[in-house]
Symmetry: C2
Subunit: 301 residues, 2 copies
Amino acid sequence: MSPAISSAKLADALKASAQAVNVELDRLLPIGDGPERRVHEAMRYASLEGGKRLRPFLVLESAKLFHVAESAALRVACAIEMVHCYSLVHDDLPCMDDDDMRRGRPTCHKQFDEATALLAGDALLTHAFEVLALPGTHGDPAVRCELVAALAHAAGGWGMVGGQMVDLLAAELAMDVAAITRLQQMKTGRLICFAAEAGAVLGKAHPNQRQALRNYAHDLGLAFQIADDLLDVEGTAEEMGKKVGKDADAHKATFVSLLGVERARAQADMLASQAINHLDSFGDTADLLRDVARFVVERRS
Amino acid sequence: MSPAISSAKLADALKASAQAVNVELDRLLPIGDGPERRVHEAMRYASLEGGKRLRPFLVLESAKLFHVAESAALRVACAIEMVHCYSLVHDDLPCMDDDDMRRGRPTCHKQFDEATALLAGDALLTHAFEVLALPGTHGDPAVRCELVAALAHAAGGWGMVGGQMVDLLAAELAMDVAAITRLQQMKTGRLICFAAEAGAVLGKAHPNQRQALRNYAHDLGLAFQIADDLLDVEGTAEEMGKKVGKDADAHKATFVSLLGVERARAQADMLASQAINHLDSFGDTADLLRDVARFVVERRS
């Protein structure tokens, strides 16, 4: 394996990809002249600027492994980010987590109102599928269909939404590490897996290569979540741009409450290393994917 | 043109198609064993049973014009109905219309809770795209992509969601008949147009035939909406299975408040006749589509 790329190089790459995603999102998102413009503005507020853009980065980097055109990868990256942002908007609503701040700014329903935020989330989710299904995403419609079906499966009742449901019920359930792992796999893991796999789908990669990326993302997603739990305990609201200590306040079982800080951190580090090992067959081109696995467990926000 | 089919024949056909849609929805919708089952049950509560199933009927009947396999048409019919039902669930939420009753039963958030209803709507919308994108819907992935993109366009920020946004703002806007027509076109018209057009997409029909069905559905959708406004004034809650007189209570401009009952009824009848005229090229096979155009303006609920 090649020597690790400095984290400055990763920081530059993350910044560049976040910028490219912003430009493309701005191009893809609707902006009308009639009164419907209000929901278009809320869609933009909720998705443009801010965020680490981890999922888009995984799409762009996995696409590079298979020499996929950047224009195609960017559309898929934006579609996944739209789904991620919709989930945050709905998650922040009063009937869910009731959060006032997100990415250091008022949440969408605080900036607009609840009804507009609900609709903006709905429209972001819907628009993601339109972007994937249109010819600009790939010349082969079979590939576009595969992306649509896989994104829907990752985001729907068996995936992200199912995980959010389990999360809402978690306080009443006896959650052990296995149950929390399953919950996190559904709630965040499936979408992260799809992001890393999307490049392989676009590049019509060999099934083994797809599997390797899925395995990588599986471990990465879990490491990311444990790191998130650690930050909820150890981070400050200023660093995080949102409220911290919420899990403890809600008496929610997390990896940290079940394992303790030290074992949780060791587990996250182990998963990050394991994620990197899954990339062995890809050589130097995957170095930024390796770096990002280290980054997710080392980040301070 | 052939003589009108008796409305008993239409009633039987509507009942048969609603039954077929229920069976297929039951087959397509998720039902898990874990705690996520709660959101699956809410998805089912919100979409199985009840409703006229007008949109699925339009899909199934337009598909018959082009000899499309019923199994394929049923999947598309169910996908559109999932999107329609998700929009009702979100529309009924306290931050939107705040309705307690729907189809004679408690609304989804009354039966479950707000968070579960929000998630059930999200998952129904997401699942619709998965169903369309999978091979069972059509052997040609280009057709499946076209369906996904068209449904998303009809349902998203330029279509249904955009229309709901305008509707929320309508009380503060000076709405004339042109503005109300545009609002209704976005809020309900686009999805009804897509339902009638879907059979032509599945059957790879000639562009003229697609256009004829779009024109038919455009007029049908508007006639349906005017009839709805009339029922809100003239119907009873018992007949409708939901609260009536809401528009007047909300001081909302409607076709009826702007045109008066008589002119609104005349307009609805005129649009229904016009819709029927668009079907001239289809012969007897389109008789049930003609009947349904008469039905939407004559119905009592």
